[in-house]
């Protein structure tokens, strides 16, 4: 399979008055056509910034200081603003976290959809409208003609997220980045939306980069999972293997803190300590202060190294492959 998205050595830093926040600090990630990759991490781990870096929409003072992002082979780092604009929406699209905030409150749905159509296609208003209707039908919105004339506040959260998804998929982009698109929704709606995005992407062969802090959600949808901690990927591999036999102590910690039906009655274990402050990352392995397996070696930064079967881990003391998920 060909790579739709290829990120190599990406560093996106924020220069603030109090110092440099290395939100993304050397990320390598590949998403192939038709593949769903889950990017998992706690808030502040840099997963969203990675997504925005791809679209070229990092808010100042953040900027990509190093690395390469290739979309269908085309280099995006250093591309002209106009070229990036052409690609956004057409070749790569993004679905945001909070559907209450993603649609402009003072513009009607048709305005917001039709402008997205016409940003990348020279079509008449009537044709643009037709495409919007079709896109709304595709995401399962009832009475799309009526919805088109509505303002965002007249729609429910789930409906708004469907509109946002319809907009993202308007031009059938090869890559869709979904930044926690179900977090702000009710659980039942969550499952629906999750299912719909998966279906739509599978139907059109769209590569999906699913960003989330929720391992449970990601495990339901992703072919491969990359776990991020403090701006770096600490473990990566096929979902099944990574979830059942985690190699990185942090991944293990995340899994242990997910409630599960199979472990009813046992206490959940949380990872001790907190995520490190972004301005004062510990030397060496950033997870060291919270890690039970840490040693003096961990004062040096471990490399991300392959451990076979498409898996990679950034740890000097990985868990043995046979270790069960929870002891």
């Amino acid at each position: 399979m060909t790579a739709v998205l290829e990120i190599r050595g990406l560093r996106t830093w924020f220069e603030t008055r109090r110092g440099t926040v290395k939100a993304v600090d050397g990320v390598d990630l590949t998403v192939r056509a038709g593949e769903v990759v889950g990017l998992v991490g706690e808030s502040g781990s840099g997963k969203s910034v990675t997504g925005f870096s791809v679209l070229g929409l990092v808010d100042p003072p953040g900027r990509i200081v190093e690395g390469s992002i290739r979309l269908l082979g085309e280099e995006l780092v250093g591309a002209s603003p106009d070229r990036l604009r052409q690609l956004r929406g057409a070749r790569m699209a993004m679905i945001f976290q909070d559907p209450m905030m993603t649609l402009n409150p003072v513009l009607r749905i048709d305005t917001q959809m039709m402008e997205a159509v016409r940003a990348h296609a020279v079509v008449s208003r009537r044709e643009a409208r037709e495409r919007c209707l079709e896109a709304l039908r595709r995401v399962g919105i009832p009475a799309p003609e009526e919805r088109l004339r509505a303002y965002p506040h007249q729609l429910s959260g789930g409906m708004r997220q469907r509109v946002a998804i319809a907009i993202a998929l308007l031009h059938r982009p090869p890559l869709v980045i979904a930044d926690e698109p179900t977090t702000a929704l009710d659980v039942t709606i969550q499952a629906q939306i999750l299912y719909e995005i998966q279906e739509l992407c599978a139907a059109s062969g769209t590569a999906l980069l699913w960003i989330s802090h929720d391992l449970a959600v990601v495990s339901a949808i992703a072919d491969r999972i990359a776990v991020m901690y403090a701006g770096r990927i600490v473990e990566e591999g096929p979902s099944e293997a990574l979830l059942t036999r985690p190699h990185h102590p942090y991944t293990q910690g995340l899994l242990d803190s997910v409630p599960s039906r199979h472990r009813r009655g046992t206490r959940l274990r949380s990872i001790p300590g907190n995520a490190p402050p972004p301005l004062a990352l510990p030397e060496g392995c950033a997870f060291r202060p919270r890690c039970a397996r840490a040693s003096r070696r961990c004062l040096r930064e471990p490399e991300l190294r392959a451990t076979g079967a498409g898996r990679r881990v950034r740890c000097f003391h990985p868990l043995p492959d046979a270790a069960p998920v929870s002891a």
Partner: protein, 325 residues
């Protein structure tokens, strides 16, 4: 909608009534107009005669009652000085002041909103900082001094524009206006700019604050993620949201520009209502002062109402009937 209008009208009536009481009491407290109107040589009988003729001999509450009854018929009394209906006197001057106010607001909006957006979008760059520094000058230098400097520079030193007066006027729908003749425009420019300076600074600050808030919103990022041009993101997605608070303040400011253009009108000898008000206060010409203030109350109420209507056009989340304000 109808219920809203009725509620609105009742609020307005209460506001007008309260204002009438306050104005009447306030003007009554300022002094006895007879002292100024009658020559110092007049004897007691003449003074008594004048007081009786003007109705000043009656108890305050009765005077107020008469005033109120007349006001309801649209009669706000006759000027003591000009012996003309006070309202007509004011309405004759109203177009000049309105023209000045509209011109000033137009300048403030056309300059303030683009500059404010620029200052917001480039808040960390020299151009943005320069705009903000300029707006501080607009805020802090006294208005009359700005007016005098404008006259010095453009009328006295450069000789490009006249220093005062209204210039040539032509009738438009029965109202004399200056802006349709070149000479009139020349006369209008300096006082309008003078009146606009403070408002422009205000609009710049408001717009900048709005821009900085709106530019961080998810919907702006999403608009960019759709691949829209920067132009469309700024001029449609951002501007429409920024305008909501700006319109509110501009509405109130328009009322205050009409009401208190006094300083500019005095500096530029502009024959508007402000000049009339100052003269009337000096002469203790009560009916004119009262009529003026009542008219201003009405202007404010009307402007507020228009702002509310405009609000619903700008922000679909606001529906008139749902508002309690």
């Amino acid at each position: 909608m109808l219920a809203y209008l009725i509620r609105r009208a009742m609020q307005a009536a209460v506001a007008v009534l309260v204002m009438a009481v306050l104005v009447f009491l306030g003007v009554y407290a300022v002094g006895d107009p007879v002292d100024i109107l009658i020559s110092p040589e007049a004897d007691l009988a003449e003074i008594e005669e004048a007081r009786r003729r003007l109705g000043l001999d009656r108890p305050l509450i009765e005077q107020f009652g008469i005033f109120l009854a007349n006001a309801l018929r649209g009669d706000l009394g006759r000027s003591f000085v000009h012996n003309e209906p006070a309202l007509r006197l004011i309405l004759e001057r109203l177009p000049a002041t309105l023209e000045l106010a509209v011109a000033a607001m137009a300048i403030a909006i056309l300059l303030g909103i683009p500059l404010g957006m620029l200052a917001g979008l480039r808040h960390d760059r020299p151009s943005g900082k320069a705009i903000m520094a300029g707006s501080i000058l607009g805020f802090s230098l006294p208005n009359f001094w700005q007016g005098l400097m404008l006259i010095m520079l453009f009328a006295v030193i450069l000789g490009w524009l006249p220093a005062g007066g209204r210039g040539e006027t032509v009738p438009l729908f029965g109202v004399e206006v200056s802006f349709l003749t070149l000479n009139g425009l020349q006369h209008l420019l300096l006082p309008a700019v003078n009146l606009a300076i403070f408002k422009t600074a205000l609009v710049i600050r408001l717009t900048r604050a709005g821009t900085r808030e709106v530019m961080l919103q998810d919907y702006v990022k999403f608009a960019r993620a759709k691949g829209l041009s920067e132009r469309r993101v700024v001029l449609v997605h951002m501007l429409k949201n920024i305008l909501i608070p700006v319109v509110t303040v501009l509405g109130l400011e328009f009322g205050s520009v009409v009401a208190f253009a006094v300083v500019t009108e005095t500096v530029f000898a502009w024959p508007g209502m402000g000049k009339l008000l100052i003269d009337s206060i000096l002469n203790l010409d009560r009916p004119v002062v009262v009529a003026y203030l009542m008219l201003i109350v009405l202007v404010f109420i009307l402007v507020n109402f228009l702002v509310d209507v405009l609000y619903t056009l700008l922000d679909p989340r606001v529906r008139l009937a749902e508002r309690h304000g």
